[in-house]
């Protein structure tokens, strides 16, 4: 969202506490939501839980269109609507809740860099596998994306989205990559994350930050989503510290609702 919008948000909401009826909107969990959107949504949920801010998850078929930036998830807090993890982190910071205040400058730089690494490599790889791999796209993605709509709208919307994502891949230079190369990129990304995590419980000291939420969101979703092949989750499973990291966050922050998590979204 715009810088001006952020400034206004800060000015209007600094004093207001977090309301009880804050809601997070995402696409339908069982039939519609895709891997990349599920990962982003889980990251935001994890972050809010880490901050101790209660939020209700609401599934809507048109969540993508309701969102101010066109991307899910988005949260509705008081009379503000904020979408995507970055702006949401800014928004909660304005309300006085922050996970990264204890970091020094160098650590904060590293945190932001690693968050961009996840966005640049993991999220893009997820989008590529969903939309640019013909098998996955025709067997999983398009049917799921268009499930709430009737013919012919379902075909039109699915192909329109696919075309848009493929053009974006072209613009950033991913169009020439093969599926194997994308898996290799995911592997490199996981290796970097695993290196950075080392033997620590969280990425920075003993307290989780938004980076932990983001990494958890993506890795957990990949591990628990079945795609046409298991190669993606196998890449992550080969790093044991990442596996125990995910398990730790799941047990600490999602304990009471383990049954409700999108475990094993069978597609």
């Amino acid at each position: 969202d715009s810088l001006l919008g952020e400034v206004l948000v800060v000015e209007l909401n600094t004093a207001e506490p977090w309301p009880e009826n804050a809601t997070l909107y995402q696409p339908l969990r069982e039939d519609q939501i895709l891997l990349s959107d599920c990962a982003s949504s889980l990251a935001v949920q994890a972050y809010l839980r880490m901050c101790g801010l209660p939020v209700r998850v609401c599934c809507r078929a048109n969540a993508e269109y309701m969102s101010p930036s066109g991307k899910v998830p988005f949260i509705h807090v008081g009379n503000q609507v904020v979408s995507e993890l970055g702006p949401i982190v800014q928004f909660t910071k304005a309300k006085g809740h922050s996970l990264s205040d204890g970091l020094d400058d160098v650590q904060r730089a590293e945190m932001k860099a690693y968050m961009e690494l996840v966005n640049n490599m993991l999220l893009t790889a997820e989008l590529y596998i969903q939309w640019c791999d013909d098998t996955t796209s025709s067997e999983i993605t398009r049917p799921r994306y268009s499930s709430p709509y009737s013919w012919p709208l379902n075909h039109i919307l699915a192909y329109q989205k696919q075309w848009e994502v493929r053009r974006k891949m072209n613009a950033i230079g991913w169009a020439g990559k093969t599926l194997e190369q994308v898996y290799e990129d995911v592997s490199q990304c996981c290796q970097a994350l695993s290196q950075r995590l080392g033997t620590q419980p969280y990425f920075f000291n003993k307290q989780p930050t938004e980076l932990d939420a983001l990494v958890f969101g993506h890795l957990f979703t990949i591990l628990t989503t079945r795609l046409t092949s298991d190669e993606l989750s196998e890449k992550i499973k080969s790093y044991s510290n990442l596996l125990s990291f995910c398990r730790r966050i799941e047990q600490t922050y999602f304990e009471e609702s383990i049954g409700k998590l999108p475990l094993g979204v069978i597609v």
């Binding site: 160098v106 904060r108 860099a113 961009e116 640049n120 290796q191 290196q195």
Partner: protein, 316 residues
């Protein structure tokens, strides 16, 4: 002995070995890794082996185009600037390069290619003057369109228009990114100690054009100039690894100042005048011959020289 490697990249100007960020990244990496490259500085991307610049041509493995692919290829040939890095530093490299690409690159694209004043006064002018005819009429606009399209796709907004709103958002991210890089660099000479690595190449490639190419709308430049350690970092690399380019720059700067904002260059003006006069005379003569005002008679072949008769007829 490795097979000779050839690198095709954009020509340099303003004290830089190349005006394009990707080319600078690859050139810097090659210098850091000590790779013996035969560098072709060209201004016509169609002459490159892959059709885009930069391009690395190897004897056995074909040609490669994106900086990441070129660096991987150089590493395969045992020219590795990251040899001494620990595993954590390699991970940090990946993360910071992602930061550059996600937060800084869109703003750089905007400031060089989309911002109206910068594009028309500086970027398009440089490319139009340096690309050979007739590509200089096509390419700058085509690149401009492609960069705007790229910004639209990356932001996910198909109706994006260049303007203050977009500029504010992009520059906000970019300024933050530059500050973060400055904090990470601290007072070190390079990002990971005393010897440069691929991360230094990427940062140099992206920041050096911003530092050296003077733009009318220079908000990013001002911020970069205020970050002393980054500015020092770029100048350091230029002086250490590209000494010949930085020596040329002062001489060029003087002549540029003399021209000021003058659009016509003296030698071109003279040449254009002569060419246009010749063209006009040629056109008049051609018309005269075709409409019969002037005729040249050749008498049939004799041993003597044919003589030319000129007849002028008055036209009513």
């Amino acid at each position: 002995m490795a097979a000779p490697l050839q690198l095709y990249c954009w020509r340099g100007d303003h004290g830089l070995p190349s005006v394009d960020a990707d080319c600078l990244t690859v050139l810097a990496y090659a210098k850091f890794a000590g790779a013996p490259l035969k560098v072709h500085k060209i201004t016509n991307p169609w002459r490159s082996p892959t059709g885009i610049l930069p391009a690395l041509k190897t004897r056995e493995e074909g040609s490669f185009s994106q900086p990441s692919k070129i660096i991987i290829q150089l590493r395969k040939q045992k020219y590795n600037a990251d040899y001494d890095l620990s595993a954590k530093e390699c991970a940090d490299t990946l993360a910071f390069v992602s930061l550059l690409e996600e937060k800084l690159l869109p703003a750089l694209i905007y400031t060089h290619w989309v911002d109206a004043k910068n594009y028309v006064d500086v970027t398009r002018r440089w490319y139009a003057e340096n690309i050979p005819f007739p590509l200089n009429f096509l390419l700058p606009n085509r690149i401009h369109g492609r960069q705007l399209e790229r910004l639209r796709l990356v932001r996910g907004d198909p109706t994006l228009e260049p303007g203050e709103q977009l500029e504010k958002e992009l520059y906000h991210d970019a300024l933050e990114c530059m500050t973060l890089l400055s904090q990470r660099l601290g007072s070190q000479k390079f990002f990971f100690g005393d010897s440069p690595s691929s991360l230094d190449a990427y940062v140099f490639g992206h920041l050096a054009p911003l530092l050296k190419i003077k733009l009318p709308n220079g908000k990013l430049q001002q911020h970069l100039n205020s970050l002393d350690n980054l500015r020092q970092f770029c100048t350091n690399i230029l002086v250490l690894y590209f000494p010949s380019e930085s020596r040329e720059a002062p001489a060029k700067k003087v002549s540029n100042h003399a021209d000021g904002g003058d659009f016509d260059n003296e030698p071109h003006k003279r040449r254009n005048q002569i060419l246009s006069v010749l063209f006009a005379v040629g056109a008049m003569l051609g018309y005269a011959f075709l409409s019969g005002i002037i005729t040249i008679k050749h008498t049939p072949a004799r041993l003597e020289e044919p003589h030319v008769d000129e007849e002028e007829e008055e036209e009513d």
